[in-house]
């Protein structure tokens, strides 16, 4: 029999339903492997005991109608979980235990899944390497000196190391797709408004979306259909008919028109990425799709626009962490002193940097020049995509401009770090769905990903394209379990 941890989410669900394996066996396997994988620093909070109890409970009274029957899942520590510590990887929430559950995680539990633990991420999801976490950086299972990407770095690392059969992340500017690309896994950012933001620690409200991170495209479709729901508790949630993505998954993409945006051919991009992109085009053609050259003229402005909009919203969203009501408080001589000490000690450097940028761009006298202008450019970027989608069904780009980098390499160079998100950020600004799939390896055998961007609410379309490409690419993630003692 295959090792339990090698089974995909879809296979696990089927084997549990057919009673080939029990939830307890699956949960034990993941708990054991997680326990021996501490070196990767993926978990912020482990709920192994509770998970085993819940697995036992499931086995005693199984419900095989559920989509994720008794399947253990670890989730990014940005999702608030009832009675389980939720930190956003920040000192300021180090001991915060919510009395409520995020809608997305509730959807998982309602589908039969079991919480395995909370996964490390960049502090408040601000970062692209998982080096800004208060709980220390996460190591990629790909190599012992490699970042897993970020901000959902703990999720990507745990997934690639097989510490969880699948996981969920959040993506504000690429935080699902970039780490997926770095770790040879699949990550999807849904259309803005698909997954409820209720109970997710907010970073930038107009950009944040939760999404699935999985080992293959089918799992991605399955997890997405469980996560995605209309939620009246989130005013930006959109009420549209959500298909059963996994059941409708279709490899036939004959006649689909796929756009190749010329602006994504950036200076200094490694030739390996260029080649990967070419290879992707070839695969698509082989699948019967038509390749169309398109232009997204405002692409160059996406990154600066993002680094105005996201910090602006973040500076306001993080104002609630003030030491008054919950979370970390440093004693002060008066209210202002307490605020200053609490926030100075409670937030890390990257979070402080973004709060300061955000505060600056919203300040009187600068608002028009920065925030207002950024909103206008955001509109132009969205219009670019609208125009492109009149000609094509989806767009193919590299997921990142490089493969994973070494720990510490970009830590002190924020701009070079930000440049990592150059291909993913426009998708968030336009509110579109985007998926990253593993597509090859670079010269160091580090994974590289391709991104497929779809029309609003056309998650099915990009999943289908990804599904057909996946077969052609036939990517196999190989790790030698070097981190297990």
């Amino acid at each position: 029999m295959t090792n339990i941890i090698d089974l995909t989410l879809d296979e696990l669900a089927n084997k549990i339903k057919s009673k080939e394996i029990s939830s307890t066996e699956v949960t034990s396997a993941y708990v054991d492997r997680s326990k021996s994988s501490k070196k990767l620093n993926t978990y912020v909070e482990e709920t192994f005991e509770q998970a085993l109890k819940n697995a036992n409970k499931f086995d005693n009274k199984p419900n095989f109608e559920k989509k994720l029957p008794g399947i253990p899942l670890a989730v990014k520590d940005l999702f608030c979980t009832h009675n389980v510590r939720t930190t956003a990887s920040s000192k300021i929430l180090e001991n915060f235990i919510p009395t409520y559950e995020s809608t997305v995680t509730q959807n998982l539990w309602d589908a039969g899944a079991i919480l395995l633990g909370k996964l490390n991420c960049d502090e408040f999801a601000m970062g692209s390497s998982n080096e800004t976490s208060y709980f220390g950086n996460v190591i990629s299972p790909i190599d012992n000196n490699l970042v897993p990407g970020g901000s959902s770095g703990g999720s990507a690392s745990a997934l690639a190391a097989k510490l969880t059969p699948a996981t969920i992340g959040t993506d504000t500017g690429g935080s699902i797709r970039q780490p997926a690309s770095f770790t040879g896994t699949v990550g999807l950012k849904p259309t803005y408004g698909s997954c409820s933001r209720y109970g997710i620690v907010a970073f930038a409200s107009s950009l944040d979306q939760a999404g699935p991170m999985t080992r293959n495209v089918k799992d991605c479709a399955l997890l997405l259909e469980v996560m995605s729901s209309f939620d009246q508790k989130d005013s930006t949630s959109i009420d549209f008919k959500r298909p059963n993505y996994s059941l409708k998954l279709n490899k036939n993409i004959k006649g689909k028109k796929i756009g190749i945006p010329k602006e994504y051919r950036v200076d200094g991009m490694p030739s390996e990425i260029e080649k990967l992109w070419e290879k992707g085009k070839e695969f698509l053609k082989e699948c019967g799709a038509e390749i169309v050259d398109i232009s997204l003229p405002h692409t160059n402005y996406a990154l600066p626009t993002y680094y105005i909009v996201a910090p602006a919203e973040a500076s306001s969203n993080l104002a609630r962490y003030d030491g008054v009501k919950y979370g970390f408080r440093a004693e002060g001589e008066n209210l202002i002193d307490m605020y200053e000490k609490t926030r100075s000690q409670g937030f890390g450097d990257e979070v402080k940097r973004r709060i300061m940028i955000g505060t600056y761009v919203l300040s009187s006298g600068y608002y028009d020049a920065y925030y207002l202008k950024a909103q206008k450019v955001r509109m132009l970027i969205k219009n670019d995509f609208d125009e492109a989608f009149k000609k094509v069904d989806a767009i193919l780009t590299p997921s990142t401009p490089s493969s994973a980098f070494k720990i510490g390499d970009k830590k002190d160079d924020p701009v070079s770090m930000y440049l990592n998100d150059i291909f993913t950020v426009p998708v968030n600004l336009a509110g579109l769905p985007g998926i990253s799939i593993p597509a090859g390896l670079d010269k160091n055998n580090y994974p590289l990903g391709l991104q497929i961007i779809g029309k609003p609410f056309d998650e099915q379309g990009i999943l289908d394209i990804a599904y057909s490409m996946e077969e052609k690419i036939n990517f196999k993630l190989k790790t030698n379990d070097w981190w297990i003692k």
Binding site: Y198, I200, S235, S316, V324
Partner: protein, 487 residues
């Protein structure tokens, strides 16, 4: 320029006072603007607080449609433009009783635009412009006097819906401010959109004051006086502030644009922060909320719910009941008064009812510091009393005696009349006997009268009344007396 204009005089120079008001009116609603928490006043601290109100991580605001309807309703009552699309913005500042670190308000695109409120001045009606009305959240309350070393925070009020109603700088005196606030409150109470209770803080105002020399057009530099919570204090603050500014100008100094506080102990305003120290609120559209949009049908449906408002009611009272504008203004100024009046006139004479309510009843209420809703005399019983006068059962004088009894015990006046035997004597035979008795015992006065001393007629009336123990029908006494004396 009328001669009763309110002016500040310094060294023979006359200054006009320019006042604009920002009124914060709490929306009458069971639940808060963006959460389902209750809004009851006076509840135990922190018992009406949801996770949203306390700004827990990941919590999101969801607009309460009822509060939107209330704001639109108020806008209609202010004859204002209703904006079918408005935007909620975040006003960012740190304070212990502001859990989110920002207040959700409306900045550039309010729900209600320009409108008007008409004041009934003694010199005639005056229209005050409304600049805008927007919806926003209230903050919590910081309590500094319970714990000696810490400030305590009560979040019951956090997130409660407020309407900020901004007037144009059209007010010119403390008295106009008084009438404006009362009119605004009256309109909102008619609409049921704000209870207007200033003691409980459901109506508060910031007052903008500037002065300019009479005859000049340019507006002077204004000062904003924050959060004055009674009309009396508002008037005192304006008076003090106008004088202070006029003095500054007379001394050749400039008025600084600043925010000031009214010290109710010293009856003075003092500087709170200058323009330079003003908060930079970093307003931007709240990304957690979509723009607030509705269609004409939504507005039309609300229009159907609008009751008769004070100005319309006043005109109806004047036209239909022939009340004087003065009487009508008084009777409609307060919703409960108008309701009381309309209840009384269901069965009673209108003019007499108006007189009794604005006269005896108001005097009684004033004396005991009562609202009309707390009146010791019910409208039903007052109506019966008035009918007893109309049908001649009792005289006006007796009616006052009965009114006094009723004020202590809200009893049916018919029963009082019975019990105390206060029924008016209108039997001509009985009255004739009484008159005969008076005339017989005052023969010398009768002779004087007959020789031309007409003024003695009143004396005879008085004597007959006395003889009847006040119950004689005055009209009949007059009539019979005349016949007897002149016959």
């Amino acid at each position: 320029m009328s001669k009763d204009q309110y002016l500040i005089e310094k060294n023979g120079n006359k200054y006009e006072v320019i006042i604009g008001l920002e009124v914060h009116a709490q929306v009458l609603s069971e639940s808060k603007l963006f959460s389902s928490s209750a809004t009851r006043f006076g509840s135990e601290p922190n018992t009406q607080v949801s996770l949203v109100d306390a700004a827990f991580p990941g919590m999101l605001p969801v607009i309460n449609e009822f509060c939107v309807r209330q704001a639109v309703k108020t806008g209609i009552g202010l004859n204002a433009k209703i904006n079918k699309k408005s935007i909620f913005d975040r006003k960012n500042y740190f304070y212990a009783d502001l859990p989110q670190g920002y207040q959700i308000s409306q900045y550039k695109d309010p729900i209600v635009g320009e409108g008007t409120v008409v004041l009934d001045l003694p010199s005639g009606p005056k229209t005050i412009g409304i600049e805008r009305l927007h919806l926003e959240q209230d903050a919590g309350k910081s309590i500094h006097d319970i714990d000696p070393s810490s400030t305590l925070v009560d979040l019951n009020r956090s997130g409660v819906a407020l309407m900020e109603i901004v007037s144009k700088p059209d007010l010119r005196s403390p008295e106009e401010v008084n009438l404006y606030i009362k009119k605004l409150r009256s309109i909102m109470r008619y609409l049921g959109t704000c209870d207007g209770n200033m003691q409980e803080g459901s109506l508060r105002a910031d007052v903008n004051v500037s002065v300019r020399k009479v005859g000049t057009d340019k507006l002077g530099t204004r000062c904003e006086i924050k959060n004055v919570n009674s009309i009396k204090f508002m008037q005192m603050a304006i008076e003090y502030e106008a004088n202070r500014q006029a003095e500054l100008l007379e001394e050749g100094n400039a008025v600084d644009q600043e925010t000031r506080l009214f010290d109710t102990k010293k009856n003075q305003t003092r500087s709170m922060r200058s323009k330079e120290d003003a908060h930079d609120y970093r307003y931007f559209p709240d990304p957690d909320l979509l723009p607030l949009e509705f269609d004409d049908q939504f507005i039309e449906n609300i229009k159907k719910e609008i009751p008769e408002l004070p100005d319309q009611k006043k005109n109806r009272f004047i036209e239909k009941f022939r009340l004087t504008p003065y009487e009508a203004t008084i009777l409609v100024s307060d919703l409960d008064t108008s309701k009381f009046f309309e209840k009384v006139i269901e069965k009673s004479d209108v003019k007499l009812s108006a007189n009794w309510i604005t006269g005896e009843l108001f005097a009684l209420l004033n004396e005991n510091n009562l609202e009309i809703s707390e009146s010791p005399i019910s409208p039903e019983n007052l109506s019966k009393l008035i009918n007893l006068i109309s049908d001649g059962t009792i005289s006006g004088k007796i009616a006052k005696t009965i009114f006094e009894i009723m004020s202590k015990e809200d009893k049916d006046p018919n029963i009082i009349v019975e019990e105390k035997g206060l029924k008016q004597e209108s039997d001509p035979k009985a009255l004739e006997d009484l008159i005969q008795k008076v005339l017989s015992s005052n023969k010398d006065k009768v002779n004087e009268y007959k020789s031309g001393k007409d003024k003695l007629f009143g004396f005879f009336v008085g004597q007959v009344m006395k003889e009847s123990k006040g119950k004689g029908n005055p009209q009949m006494i007059n009539k019979i007396l005349k016949e007897k004396l002149n016959g």
